[in-house]
């Protein structure tokens, strides 16, 4: 690690005014310190935001507000989240390990960086880490990489599980920028596709701080599922994951949500399949057709063709699991 100064801003406005390109906020530190040890991130200064940002969950009729500093494990066991937004708790518990979930903050989880092996190895080319150096994964070791929404400049995936549930539930991210104004960024616009600027993971304004995550009240708390397929049963990143949620009138689907991790540079919503499911009967045949619509969209790379049948199966099973949740 390169030496850095460490300080604790006492107000949000102090935090954002003290932030610049060479300064990083540190919350749980589970991603940042790892990247600093590997010389991928080399800040001159850290701003410890652990006591600055909210660590409470506030529930209101129009939805729930989760403070950016709520630890992942605390969110997963919070009773309001478990009853109103259980998909979120499920997704969190599918990620990392109990120790890491005790440390990881909700805000930090959104901003964790890709696990692409070339990004993590500073001797390798990687446009995300070093713009212009090339993409090692595109024609290299890409079994974990994207199958949709990628560009010739970057084929990495976003590694979060939590974010897949937040995308499915149309959450929004509340941030305060340099101008000291709080704004809400809809989740679908929070993360971005790589295009020709893969060094940017998201649309968080420069130097802004995340203060909370809002999820609007919804009726997706009865029939939902989070399915994660990975190399080992636990403590591994997703090959593919599926967040599914249905609102049912008897057997008829009133509303459906379907999102995936491990497939794109951002949490990916399958809007076309959601639209298809609307109004249909919740049967195995319907689910299978929805999965076919999903896999029509995807274009695997040289080493991740297995994700196509894997995704088809995962979508079908996740939708089926919604009925028994």
């Amino acid at each position: 690690m390169r030496p850095f100064t460490l300080s604790k801003p006492s107000t949000i406005s102090q935090a954002v005014s003290g932030k610049n390109e060479a300064v990083r906020y540190i919350a749980g530190g589970t991603n940042l310190l790892d990247l600093m040890k590997k010389h991928i991130s080399e800040p001159d200064a850290l701003l410890d935001v652990t006591t600055l940002l909210s660590d409470t969950v506030q529930s209101a009729p129009k939805g729930i507000r989760i403070g950016a500093m709520v630890r992942n494990s605390v969110a997963a066991s919070n009773s309001d989240i478990r009853s109103g937004f259980p998909l979120v708790a499920k997704a969190i518990l599918a990620g990392a390990s109990p120790q890491i979930r005790n440390m990881a903050s909700m805000g930090g989880n959104l901003l964790q960086r890709t696990r692409c092996p070339y990004f993590y190895d500073i001797t390798m080319p990687c446009n995300k880490r070093k713009p212009g150096s090339g993409c090692g994964a595109k024609d290299g070791e890409n079994r974990m990489s994207a199958v949709v929404g990628y560009s010739e400049h970057c084929v990495a995936v976003h590694p979060s599980d939590l974010c897949i549930a937040l995308a499915a539930l149309d959450a929004s991210v509340i941030v305060t920028g340099k101008d000291q104004k709080a704004i809400a960024i809809p989740f679908k616009d929070f993360h971005r596709l790589p295009g020709s600027t893969p060094e940017k993971d998201n649309n968080l304004p420069e130097n802004a701080i995340i203060t909370s995550i809002d999820i609007p009240a919804n009726a997706f708390n009865k029939n939902y599922a989070y399915l994660k397929v990975r190399d080992r049963d636990s403590y591994a990143f997703a090959l593919v994951s599926v967040a599914a949620a249905l609102q049912l009138d008897g057997l008829r689907i009133r509303e459906a949500r379907l999102a995936s991790g491990g497939v794109a540079h951002k949490p990916w919503r399958w809007y076309e399949a959601e639209q298809f499911l609307k109004g249909k009967e919740a049967t195995q045949a319907t689910f299978s057709q929805a999965a076919d619509i999903v896999i029509k969209e995807i274009k695997p790379l040289s080493n991740n063709g297995f994700k196509l049948p894997m995704l088809k199966g995962a979508i079908e099973v996740a939708l089926q699991n919604c009925l028994t949740a």
Binding site: M1, R2, P3, F4, T5, L6, I26, G28, G29, T30, L33, D34, K37, K38, D44, L46, D48, T50, S73, A96, S97, P98, Q99, I100, N102, M103, D233, S234, Y235
Partner: protein
């Protein structure tokens, strides 16, 4: 064998060079160290207090020091182990305010005002913690390297109430890897204490 000899010329050049170095004015040396500071950031020394196993320590450490390096290298509490140093193995598991965390991804300076417990703080004097006793009785280890982390995690697993079934124990112990594969003994130890 040839005897090593030094020529008069060699002696004169080296000694005059050494003399020149010795007489470089302080101002030039200061300039050099300033330039060095621009290229290589100086380390940042921090002073703070930590509480580990109910004992307070006054710490003087580089800002980069992790909690793991602090306990092992500065406080000689070497029970906590370094496996991967990147959050991937659980060998460095300790408790901070009663919660299990990874000390390799925790900055030491960020646990001031908190209570840290390491494996050394678990026993009650000569009396082992029930989990330590169970690990011995159930063969919860082989080489023992992962064991301090396993035990810290196991104690938390019981406190959190994640002991409903073998599957639940395995899932909530998945953050601790064991290269020897002592997993069955570890699960048994936890069941024994949870009962």
């Amino acid at each position: 064998m040839e005897k090593q000899t030094y020529s008069r010329r060699f002696f004169l050049t080296t000694s005059s060079l050494l003399a020149t170095f010795a007489f470089i004015p302080e101002s030039v040396k200061a300039f050099y160290s300033n330039v060095k500071k621009l290229v290589i950031r100086p380390k940042e020394e921090l002073r703070f207090l930590v509480t580990i196993n109910k004992k307070k320590y006054r710490i003087n450490a580089d800002s980069r020091t992790t909690l793991l390096d602090l306990v092992r290298e500065q406080l000689q509490l070497t029970g906590t182990k370094k496996g991967c140093d990147h959050g991937q193995c659980g060998a460095c598991t300790v408790h901070v305010d009663g919660q299990r965390v990874l000390s390799c991804l925790t900055l030491a300076a960020m646990v001031q005002d908190k209570n840290v417990t390491t494996i050394e703080g678990l026993a009650d004097g000569d009396k082992l913690h029930p989990m330590q006793q169970a690990f011995i009785e159930c063969d919860g280890f082989q080489c023992g390297y992962c064991t301090p982390g396993q035990i810290m995690s196991a104690v938390a697993c019981v406190n959190e109430g994640h002991t409903g079934s073998v599957e639940e124990i395995k899932e909530f112990m998945s953050g601790n890897l064991c290269r020897c594969g002592a997993y069955n003994g570890i699960v048994e130890s936890i069941q024994k204490v949870a009962r």
